[in-house]
């Protein structure tokens, strides 16, 4: 009897365990299904951020698109499947599952007046890797087609050259093997070695594939946009507010790199900012052309789903390095000198210290410079006024900075001076007591 009960219990336990296992596997299968996809109309935006093109998704939950003024930007209307990605708290598009262009026209409205109706156009973006900012271009229509053909031709030529190179390399290998076989020692003297074929240079021009979108370049202002379909109806969810903005200011940003801690540079964006450093520091100032934007607008241009930035703040964005203009350094004692930007190489020091050493770049022994900057050696009471000199010797607007040493050894005096009101209070207290005693004596 006991045995039978135990067998029954075992049987029940086995059934329960199996049920739990099935339930668990079912739940794990459910969690592996991924987030739910929703069919949605979105805008794929290719925006110019001041130096390069970046892409952003505008899902139905976002009501406003931000773009830079007087620059070619692309707004592509698309049907896709979107899903919520909780890790980044954003809607993402599953372009692989669906990526359909919504054919129609873009209506641009300002203050209730239709100011432009745009047709879809083909476009490509190209640049040369040797000078990305200088060669960056967005080409439309027939020009886009021609530019893409040029790029395609260069790619085809490269592939053909690569195939030829591969064949020549194989033949060179055979020649070596043959020479080795003919040699009594099994080795080939260097003077008898055939010249190794050289690999063809890789094309430096990069290009996107031709795509379609509304290429839009507007003056700063607030607009409304919507897509009018071929049948004359307005595409649902296509109405968005479009804010086109300009940089508030332009200038030169500096990255101040102390020699002893080059891994932690300090960013000096504001022209009226002061760079403070320890006495005896060798400072390298790396200069960049920079622009100040409204932080809210700029961040929302890069990520339309972002909600974190307040509209009353500015944001400096650094672009290409400014290494050509000489730097004028006024040491505050009437001595003004000009300095050129110099290339430097950062070498990791051997041993367990994991330190770094900044040394002038030597093209004969080093591959490429780590950075280029203007060098300042700061003495104990250094107070430099620096600026970059543009054409005709005029300082480049926004490039002025002051560089000073900070007296960190006077901390105690800082507190002594701050306690000054206590001393004053004591003086007042004793003076009052003296006056009070004098009154008593008189009485």
């Amino acid at each position: 009897m006991m045995h039978s009960t135990s067998a029954k219990q075992k049987c029940v336990r086995a059934v329960l365990l199996t049920a739990i296992a099935i339930a668990m596997s079912a739940s794990s299968r459910a969690s592996a299904q991924g987030p739910e996809r929703i069919l949605a109309f979105v805008y794929g935006v290719t925006n110019y951020n001041g130096s390069v093109y970046a892409s952003a998704l505008v899902p139905p939950s976002v009501g406003t698109i931000y773009l830079l003024a007087n620059k070619d930007n692309v707004i592509a209307p698309r049907q896709t499947q979107i899903y919520f990605w909780p890790i980044t708290n954003q809607f993402l598009a599953d372009w692989e599952k669906m990526n359909e262009l919504v054919v129609g026209q873009l209506e641009v409205v300002q203050q209730g007046r239709l100011i432009n109706t745009m047709a879809l156009s083909q476009y490509v973006i190209q640049y040369d890797v040797n000078d990305p900012m200088g060669t960056l271009g967005l080409f439309t229509g027939e020009r886009a087609k021609a530019k893409h053909e040029v790029w395609q031709k260069a790619q085809d030529q490269y592939r053909a050259s690569l195939a030829g190179y591969s064949e020549m390399l194989r033949m060179w290998d055979e020649q070596i093997n043959k020479l080795r076989a003919e040699s009594s020692t099994g080795t080939v003297p260097p003077e008898k070695l055939p010249k190794r074929p050289e690999a063809p240079p890789r094309p430096t021009l990069l290009s996107t594939n031709p795509a379609q979108g509304f290429v839009i370049s507007l003056a700063a202002g607030t607009y409304d946009i919507q897509v009018k379909r071929l049948d004359g109806s307005i595409q649902p969810n296509s109405h968005k507010r479009l804010i086109v903005f300009e940089p508030e200011r332009e200038g030169i940003a500096y990255s101040a790199v102390p020699q002893q801690r080059w891994t932690v540079p300090e960013q000096a964006d504001e022209p009226d900012g002061v760079v403070y450093a320890l006495p005896g520091t060798t400072l390298y100032l790396q200069a960049f052309r920079s622009k100040r934007f409204n932080a809210h607008d700029y961040v929302h241009m890069l990520d339309p789903q972002d909600q974190s930035v307040w509209s009353d703040r500015g944001k400096w964005v650094s672009f290409e390095p400014a290494t050509q203009p000489p730097m004028q350094v006024d040491d505050g004692n009437g001595s003004v000198s000009a300095r050129a930007s110099q290339p430097y190489f950062v070498r990791q020091l051997p041993g367990g210290g994991l330190g770094y050493e900044v040394v002038p770049f030597d093209p004969n022994t080093m591959e490429q410079p780590t950075f280029a900057g203007y060098t300042l050696d700061l003495n104990a009471d250094a107070d430099y006024a620096v600026s970059l000199t543009g054409v005709n010797g005029v300082p480049i607007p926004g490039s002025q900075r002051r560089v000073r040493t900070l007296r960190t050894d006077r901390t105690l005096w800082l507190y002594v001076v701050s306690a000054m009101p206590l001393a004053l209070g004591l003086v007042v207290f004793f003076a009052r007591r003296r006056r009070a005693r004098a009154i008593k004596i008189e009485e």
Partner: protein
């Protein structure tokens, strides 16, 4: 001097204002010297400056560790901290002084003389403001000493900020007097004042905290604390306009950005706030009468 003045007996409007001004000056003179002869203001100013010194010390430590620091105005934060501490003290002193005079019946006695509600409030207001002008001079000396001592860059903006802080302190003192008139008893006025100041501080800190929390986790349209953050931002935007400290903070930003029009706007808002509290304090006193 005060005993010969009788505000109610003079029919001429100009003469009435002159007598009122003289009465206010008499109260101001008595209260100012009382504060200047006390220990509190020196202690509070020393605490404020030592707190400011800690902020500067922090900056020195940063430079010691990182060898370099780029900053626009290292004295702005210490100075606004000092203004916060000193203004709260002066506003509390004003609230206590005015409420105590009502509570003890001194105010009632004064009303039999040449003092009316306006002269009473103006006297206490000016007393605290005169003390702050003295404090401002001391802080100006302190800031120049610190600039020289630490080898900071001298900036006229510091002087402008200190000058603008007079409007901020005036608004906070007027708020203290408004609370004194409204609260009636000293203890009640103190409680009201503390609660309101703490509420403003809590809103500011709460907003900063929630904003930083959100920033730590990719804030987006679907942020889990989106609503709380938006609500706090909204409330804080209101507080920033209502609070004289919020206005001073905006003036400091505008000074750095060279936005003269905005500076004037925020100075105007601060002065309007002060005037509103000042007038409201007088109106409440008039409505409540001598005994409250």
């Amino acid at each position: 001097m005060v005993a010969n003045l009788d505000v109610r007996a003079q029919p001429s409007r100009g003469h009435l204002w002159m007598q009122r001004w003289q009465a206010a000056q008499a109260i101001q003179s008595r209260s100012s010297s009382s504060i200047a002869n006390g220990r509190g203001i020196y202690l509070v100013l020393a605490i404020a400056l030592l707190a400011a010194a800690v902020v500067l010390h922090n900056m020195l430590r940063f430079v010691e560790r990182n060898a370099v620091l780029a900053t626009r105005q290292p004295l702005f934060l210490p100075l606004t901290l000092m203004v916060d501490v000193v203004s709260i003290y002066l506003a509390m002193t004003a609230a206590i002084a005015a409420a105590r005079e009502r509570e003890c019946g001194t105010y009632q006695v004064l009303l039999f003389g040449p003092v009316d509600e306006s002269a009473f409030i103006a006297g206490h207001f000016l007393a605290q403001l005169m003390v702050y002008l003295g404090v401002g001079l001391l802080v100006l000396v302190w800031s120049n000493l610190v600039t020289w001592l630490l080898h900071l860059a001298f900036s006229v903006q510091v002087i402008v900020l200190l000058a603008a802080s007079v409007a901020t302190v005036a608004a906070v003192i007027a708020f203290g007097l408004f609370i004194a008139a409204w609260g009636g008893r000293t203890r009640l006025a103190l409680v009201y004042f503390t609660v309101i100041v703490l509420l403003f501080v809590a809103l500011q800190v709460g907003n900063d905290l929630v904003s930083s929390l959100a920033l730590a986790h990719s804030p987006a349209e679907n942020d889990p604390i989106f609503l709380i953050r938006d609500a706090l931002v909204l409330v804080n935007n209101v507080v920033q306009w209502v609070s004289p400290y919020g206005q001073l903070s905006r003036i400091a930003d505008d000074l750095l950005n060279g936005n003269a029009l905005s500076i004037l706007l925020h100075l105007g808002v601060t002065l309007a706030q002060g005037l509103a509290f000042f007038v409201a304090a007088i109106a409440i006193l008039k409505r409540k009468g001598a005994r409250g």
